[in-house]
């Protein structure tokens, strides 16, 4: 692209973080656009705007072969782990060219080749799988770490504590990452728990546990690097990342339950603009260079929308496929069964 040639590309960690966070944000903005254009499959779209440092900071600290599960607000995490925006957007639009052939969607996206064991639409539902992945890593000697990403809302689910206990008990290579955006739908964290210091719970199970401020992607990455190295050595951890959910819970939610002014204040905690400002102020990147980068990313994500919109829906024949393994008989469609039993000769 022409613009990218005009300014030298800074070769720093923070610049890379900024680029990845900007990609996440722009992707999410395009997801919103896809919805407004009526091109998304449904409205169960949960944007991770405001949470980019969690995805990028932790994602950067993971290695090839590491596995992870995410919650329903996991687009950013998958992107940070190398997902192609085209195939992600297509999946969100329910198209055959998506990661799961259009059958999973935003909340069930997965890709085994990138270690993504699956997003989950059940709050807490993906957490115990990392314990199992940790057992695999231990028994098979793969040296991999498995990371569970989930929201603050999942701290209300018993499965979290069962999983924390097992990981600590068996010293598995697991990291539990709680993205605390202060809300579970319309319920602010202080209306959901008497002790919002979420990491203390994990500490009680014997995990190394801490909270970082998500405003600084570098802080998140530093913490994640240390904790993932620890996890790889059999010391599982719990990392809470404080941030703010910039928009409603899902696309149709306008957050009427938030006080006037709360959102404006909350959006001050913006890891993307914080990184941008730091790059500029510290002289690591010029405004022009960053503008050029942003444009490049805009084009990349516009392309993702085009790719998704151009895609076709999965064929009807796919409907009965993959309930069971290839080679197993597919379930008999209702209409076929009825035609068969009603056939009179």
């Amino acid at each position: 692209m022409a613009t990218s040639m005009t300014a030298p590309r800074p070769n720093t960690r923070l610049y890379d973080f900024y680029r990845e966070m900007r990609r996440v944000r722009t992707f999410e903005e395009r997801v919103g656009e896809l919805f407004v254009r009526g091109q998304s499959a449904g409205s169960m779209l949960h944007l991770s705007i405001g949470e980019e440092s969690a995805a990028v900071g932790v994602g950067a600290a993971m290695q090839a072969g590491d596995t992870f599960t995410t919650h329903h607000r996991g687009h950013g995490i998958f992107l940070a782990r190398g997902a192609e925006p085209d195939r992600m957007m297509a999946e969100i639009a329910g198209k055959e060219s998506g990661y799961c052939g259009g059958k999973g969607g935003s909340m069930h996206i997965a890709d085994m080749s990138l270690g993504h064991l699956g997003a989950n639409a059940i709050v807490g539902g993906g957490i115990p799988a990392v314990v199992g992945a940790g057992l695999s890593a231990r028994n098979l000697g793969t040296g991999t770490v498995s990371v569970a990403f989930f929201g603050d809302g999942a701290t209300g689910q018993g499965i979290l504590y069962e999983s924390l206990n097992m990981a600590a008990l068996w010293q598995l290579p697991c990291l539990f990452v709680c993205i605390n955006n202060q809300y579970g739908m319309g319920t602010r964290i202080d209306r959901a728990t008497a002790n919002p210091n979420l990491h203390e719970r994990a500490a009680a199970f014997g995990l190394s546990a801490r909270t970082v401020d998500g405003l600084s992607v570098e802080d998140v990455a530093d913490a994640a690097e240390e904790m993932i190295a620890d996890a790889r050595a059999g010391r599982p951890g719990f990392l809470a990342i404080d941030c703010y959910r910039f928009f409603g819970h899902a696309r149709k939610d306008k957050s009427p339950y938030r006080a006037d002014g709360e959102e404006a204040a909350g959006r001050q905690k913006d890891p993307v603009s914080a990184a941008r400002t730091k790059l500029i102020v510290s002289g690591l990147a010029s405004v022009e260079a960053l503008d050029a980068l942003d444009k490049e990313i805009d084009a990349e994500m516009d392309g993702a929308i085009d790719f998704a919109v151009a895609g076709t829906e999965p064929p009807m024949a796919a409907m009965f496929r993959d309930v069971y393994a290839p080679g197993e008989p597919e379930p008999e469609p209702v209409s076929a069964r009825l035609s068969r039993v009603l056939a009179r000769d």
Binding site: G104, H108, A110, G126, P128, A133, L135, S136
Partner: protein, 330 residues
């Protein structure tokens, strides 16, 4: 190995042990499976041979046991998780029905969840309302889950070996009343095909379709009916998913009468499904309604008298056949 005489329990242990010797990726995970040897002794002493990394004692955390098995199955292990009682399956239902059962489909066929969830159910030990249920209907109601329920010693071995080779999650429900049952198994003999029902008795007048312990009750009833001049066939389904309707259909069409016998409660249960299907598929051949002899729609009592009569008995099966005009009262 030639044919051996053993128990249902020991046949299960043999299946697990042989699979673990053959394949290092097989692990057992569950409450009391290791040091204690399994609540019903199925995994007794296995931890001594295979160690604590492969026979994994867990905290009392059923959802995470199943959830960890899901994650392990997706990342290269072959987990056999144990749920001490099927009565606890409700706690695990998210991991079982929303995760294990749907992962292959939701993810567009990228990966399956090759795990087995062993558990046991049924009446017979005065274990009360929360430890005596037959909840196979919960499982059968969930596309994506295979369901095996062995009735015989041979199937305790062979069905479990086969379950552990399936590419999809299998719920394997043993019957607590069968663990001490003796029988023969030849571990080297080619097993009956996975998903095929077994015709344990031929009979021209009536087809009794059953599974798990009720197969033995059906056989006992058929024996008595024979002395009254009624020839009842008995089919052991062995697996409820896959369901072998191809074996049932011609038999029912020939006999013109069918009865389903199940320990699970009658309403919306396995018996209801089987009866509906037989009715739909064999309607033109039926001379009587398809009969459901199933568990009463009540909780199980601890009183042995009430417990015994809460589920089908050989007497109930015989009486029901007489009611349609066959046998002694005819």
């Amino acid at each position: 190995m030639a044919t051996i005489e053993t128990t249902y329990r020991d046949a299960l242990r043999l299946a697990l042990t042989e699979a673990m010797r053959e394949d290092d990726s097989v692990i057992l995970i569950g409450e009391e499976v290791g040091v204690y040897g399994g609540a019903y002794g199925v995994t007794k002493a296995m931890i001594e041979e295979f160690g604590a990394h492969r026979v994994i004692d867990t905290p009392i955390s059923e959802p995470a046991i199943v959830g960890a098995a899901v994650g392990a199955a997706m990342t290269g292990l072959r987990p056999v998780a144990e749920l001490m009682y099927v009565d606890f399956v409700g706690m695990t239902m998210d991991q079982l029905a929303n995760q294990a059962a749907k992962i292959r489909y939701m993810f567009g066929g990228q990966i399956g969840v090759p795990m087995v969830l062993r558990t046991q159910g049924g009446t017979g030990r005065s274990a009360g309302a929360q430890h005596s249920q037959s909840l196979e209907g919960y499982v059968m109601h969930t596309p994506g889950l295979r369901l095996a329920m062995p009735a015989t010693v041979a199937d305790a071995y062979h069905l479990l070996r086969q379950a552990m080779r399936q590419p999809d999650p299998v719920v394997f429900i043993e019957h607590k009343g069968l663990y001490t049952m003796k029988g023969e198994v030849d571990p080297d003999a080619p097993p009956a095909e996975w998903g095929r029902a077994a015709v344990l008795r031929e009979g021209a007048d009536l087809v009794i379709v059953s599974y798990s312990r009720q197969v033995h009750y059906a056989l006992a009833a058929a024996e008595r009916l024979a002395s009254e001049g009624v020839e009842a066939a008995v089919v052991d389904l062995r697996t409820l998913n896959p369901l072998d309707f191809d074996t049932i259909r011609p038999m029912v069409e020939a006999a013109g009468r069918a009865m389903v016998v199940s320990e699970g409660v009658m309403t919306s249960g396995v018996a209801a499904e089987l009866a509906a299907r037989i009715t739909e598929e064999c309607f033109d051949f039926l001379e009587d309604p398809v009969l459901r002899v199933a568990g009463e729609d009540i909780p199980i009592s601890v009183s042995p008298l009430l417990e015994t009569n809460s589920v089908p008995t050989p007497d109930l099966i015989v009486d029901t056949v007489r009611k349609i005009g066959l046998g002694a009262a005819a």
